[in-house]
């Protein structure tokens, strides 16, 4: 195969994944009750296009399966069969198999006949008869010779004379209000900006300006008319006036084209040919730019600016095509190149902070040119970084679609009826995070179906609908992405969980535990809930593995369970694995970084603020409540606990579940963006430490995981109460 063909083949598989995604969307819409032809058409087209491409590359198994699928879809499209639940379930299964087939073909393999046979049989049964191939014999069609054959080429000259379409022209009327001048804006700059877009004819209407003795300087008297010829588009023109939005009267109207438009095909509304051809109805807008309104008459003085967008703008967006929203243009880029860019930006950030630091040390004054330039540099670096990170971000949709399949498969394995509802599919998160989330999430979804939801009988007994619900949602919450898996099952059986943990020696017998402590036992290594190991979740992976996978992504997982009503697992993840906003603090002789996202405020303690509670727990009042005090230096074993906490600087750490703690540090040095350098590969997981970074002076600093630190700290102080004489030295990290 030629290189060009190889490339097309590779892009075919990428395109297949996109088609399969829209297929899933279509099926989901059908399951949610959509019956319109366009939805069915979307599914049909996806299968059909995959078949077409597969044929070109000789992927016979894929063609054969897609053909069977397509045949049934076609029957549905023609209205000869209806999409009942059974058929939809079959379609979902076909969609899954189609994905498997595409991936197999990509890897130059095929699926076994056993995998396909049952589904193919069902497909065969779904339609009464293999429909008679109604294809035309090629002999029946006589090709029609082209009437323009060679003369047509002579015409070319004429046609070419038409030239490119004329540049769009706009009539802009700009009438500043008095406030525009007083707020420090200068119309001249705006006019110059417009002139940069292309040919502009600018006239100022001065007719309203009175003689000097009647002149009122608080009144707006000037209006500019601009005729602009430019192809930057109306949005760009509007953007020029963004800063004076509300401070002026503005109208932007496209002007009629003056160029020749002879070639424009006139498209009358088409009658849909005939019903049996099943052509989708066409609501095609004309292709040539809509006839714009004539420019606003010059004479009128106070013509209110049109509402946000003039009519022509709506035609603009409607033009791009009937019922499908035109996809944004995209470029496919090798992931390696992006990662290289991410690394380089990381280096740039470090470099920039080193530079800032050395400039600061050189004793230049803050308003020197270098310092100002450096500020700008810092801002630019940050913008570049954000933009680069955005390239790596992907919507979680593909991940969620995989989970839909897991739900279907595991529900049928355990004989439950389950419906998955997803929300926030467009939430974007780093590609690596998405990839590494697949396994833990799969496990959680399986758990929810297998353990979370009760059996159908139990559900009916409890007065719940027979169909169980699993919800999968993603959302942005304070700079992190939160993914929740919830079910409407029976909730965690706490007495059972506790007794299992006691049996396994994970906790001492008869220990008093809060509900949430019991729930968290699920995450303990060695805890396996399944009393009878079922086919699904008993795959040797416990929730502890899930938890580790999540924390290796810099994430946290929490459980909320409501007996009888269900359980919700929340995973909170950083947006990116490459950088974070951190507070640089000093503890003893060490410099550490605390992620800003964990800090809700910083305070300095006054005399008598800290109070002792129990043998070695201190608390400090923060507004209306008491918050436990953790001395970071002691906790990490850097320094001995101090006598008094008067004047101590504390970072108030907030956990997702609302728990707070006051973390004592010696000094806050800086607040900055740091590049995360993983420690996992070299050191494994170190409790309380998330990663490391390189500071501006070249020094290496650990990035703390304060939540992990606090969880461990408070856990230890409860279970192995250290003697008060020598308080926390026993808690030094290994």
């Amino acid at each position: 195969m030629s290189d060009a063909m190889q490339e097309i083949r590779a892009s075919f598989f990428v395109e297949c994944e996109e088609l399969l995604e829209s297929l899933q969307d279509g099926l989901q819409a059908m399951q949610d009750g959509a019956t319109d032809t366009e939805t069915v058409n979307i599914v049909f087209r996806a299968v059909h296009s995959i078949k077409g491409g597969a044929g070109a590359f000789g992927l016979d198994q894929l063609v054969m399966f897609a053909h069977s699928f397509e045949t049934v879809m076609d029957e549905l499209r023609a209205g000869r069969i209806t999409a009942d639940d059974n058929l939809l379930a079959l379609f979902f299964q076909c969609g899954d198999l189609l994905l498997d087939l595409v991936r197999a073909a990509r890897d130059d393999t095929e699926l076994s006949e056993d995998q396909l046979a049952p589904v193919l049989k069902q497909l065969g049964e779904a339609v009464d008869l293999e429909p008679e191939d109604e294809e035309v014999d090629p002999a029946e069609f006589t090709p029609m010779a082209l009437s323009l054959d060679l003369p047509g080429l002579d015409d070319m000259a004429d046609l070419a004379e038409v030239g490119p379409p004329a540049t769009p022209r706009y009539h802009i009327r700009f009438s500043p209000q008095h406030d525009l001048y007083t707020s420090g804006n200068e119309p001249l700059f705006l006019l110059r900006a417009l002139r940069d877009f292309g040919q502009a004819q600018i006239t100022c209407v001065v007719g309203d300006v009175p003689l000097i003795d009647k002149y009122d300087q608080a009144q707006n008297l000037l209006t500019w008319n601009i005729e602009l010829e430019s192809d930057v588009g109306e949005d760009m023109i509007r953007e020029v006036f963004d800063f004076v939005d509300g401070l002026c009267k503005l109208s932007i109207e496209p002007m009629p084209q003056t160029g020749t438009d002879v070639l424009a095909p006139t498209l009358p509304d088409l009658d849909p040919p005939s019903a049996e051809d099943a052509l989708p109805p066409l609501d095609t807008a004309p292709v040539d730019p809509a006839e714009p309104d004539p420019p606003a008459p010059e004479a009128e003085t106070t013509e209110p600016a049109p509402p946000s967008k003039p009519a022509s703008a709506t035609t603009e967006s409607g033009k791009s095509g009937g019922n499908s929203t035109a996809p944004k243009p995209t470029v496919r880029v090798d992931l390696e190149r992006i990662d290289r860019l991410v690394n380089l930006v990381g280096e740039l950030v470090i470099n920039q902070s080193m530079l800032s630091q050395s400039v600061a040390l050189s004793g230049l004054s803050g308003n020197s040119q270098i310092a100002a330039g450096l500020d700008e540099f810092q801002q630019l670096t940050r913008d570049i970084q954000d933009s680069v990170m955005m390239i790596r971000a992907q919507p979680v949709k593909s991940l969620f679609q995989r989970m839909a399949r897991i739900v279907r498969e595991s529900a049928s394995d355990v004989g439950k009826t389950v419906r998955l509802r997803t929300e926030g599919e467009s939430t974007e998160i780093d590609k690596t995070v998405i990839e590494r989330l697949a396994d833990p999430l799969t496990h959680m979804i399986r758990n929810a179906v297998d353990h979370g939801l009760e059996s159908t009988e139990k559900r009916l007994e409890a007065g719940k609908p027979a169909e169980g619900r699993v919800n999968l949602t993603a959302s942005h919450r304070s700079g992190r992405v939160v993914i929740e898996v919830s079910d409407d099952g029976g909730g965690i059986n706490r007495p059972k969980v506790k007794s299992i943990a006691e049996e396994k020696g994970l906790i001492p017998p008869d220990q008093t535990m809060s509900d949430s402590d019991i729930d968290n036992l699920l995450f303990m290594p060695g805890f396996s809930t399944a009393s009878e190991i079922s086919n699904l979740s008993g795959r040797g992976v416990g929730m502890d593995v899930v938890k580790n996978a999540i924390s290796s992504l810099g994430g946290r997982i929490t459980i909320v369970s409501d007996p009888g009503k269900g359980t919700t697992f929340s995973i909170s993840l950083p947006l990116t694995l490459a950088v974070l906003d951190g507070m640089v603090v000093r503890v003893g002789t060490e410099t550490l970084v605390v992620p800003l996202s964990a800090i809700s405020e910083t305070l300095s303690l006054r005399a008598g603020d800290s109070r002792t509670l129990g043998p070695n727990t201190q608390v400090v009042p923060v507004r209306d409540s008491f918050v436990p005090l953790i001395d970071l230096g002691t906790e990490l074993g850097y320094i001995a606990p101090r006598e008094s906490y008067e004047g101590a600087i504390v970072l108030l750490i907030s956990q997702e579940n609302g728990d707070r703690a006051a973390m004592v540090v010696d000094a806050i040095e800086d607040q900055r963006q740091v590049v995360i350098k993983g420690l996992q590969d070299s050191y494994g997981h170190v409790p309380g430490v998330a990663a490391a970074t390189i500071l501006g002076d070249g020094q290496i600093a650990l990035i703390l995981d304060p939540i992990d630190l606090l969880t461990n700290a408070s856990g230890r102080s409860r279970t192995e109460t250290a003697p008060s004489a020598e308080p926390e030295t026993a808690e030094v990290h290994p």
Binding site: L19, H48, G53, P143, L146, G152, P165, L279, S324
Partner: protein, 128 residues
């Protein structure tokens, strides 16, 4: 100058794989002037900006399908004479008949080789 050097062809398909395949096949048979569009509206726009002799279009496309594009082309005073080759996965009688009525010059069933495309075009314009 051979005909194939002068012929201008517009390829219309919503799937980039198919656009690539058709373009590749056209290049193989020596066509030099090839433009592409990903939907009917884009095709009409493109043909307005740079006219062509032949439109090679897929049948199954969202929004405006291949035959609707053909219909639109036949309505335009300057585009009504353009050659039209329909690429289709299935040569259903209904589709082909409808195409014939609208003035389709020829059709080609998928999958096809460059040689098939060549004969389909030659049936319209003579030896390339």
């Amino acid at each position: 100058m051979a005909l194939r050097d002068q012929l201008r062809i517009l390829v219309v398909d919503d799937m980039s794989t198919s656009r690539g395949l058709i373009t590749q096949a056209l290049e193989t048979i020596g066509i030099r002037n090839i433009t592409t569009a990903s939907d009917g509206q884009g095709a009409l726009k493109s043909i307005k900006a740079s006219p062509v002799h032949i439109v090679v279009s897929d049948y199954n496309m969202p929004g405006m399908d291949g035959l609707a594009l053909l219909h639109a082309l036949r309505q335009g005073p300057k585009t009504k004479g353009v050659g039209f080759l329909l690429i289709t996965g299935r040569a259903d009688r209904a589709i082909i008949e409808h195409g014939r009525k609208l003035g389709m010059n020829n059709y080609l069933k998928k999958p096809f080789e460059a040689a098939d495309l060549k004969s389909a075009i030659e049936a319209m314009v003579g030896r390339l």
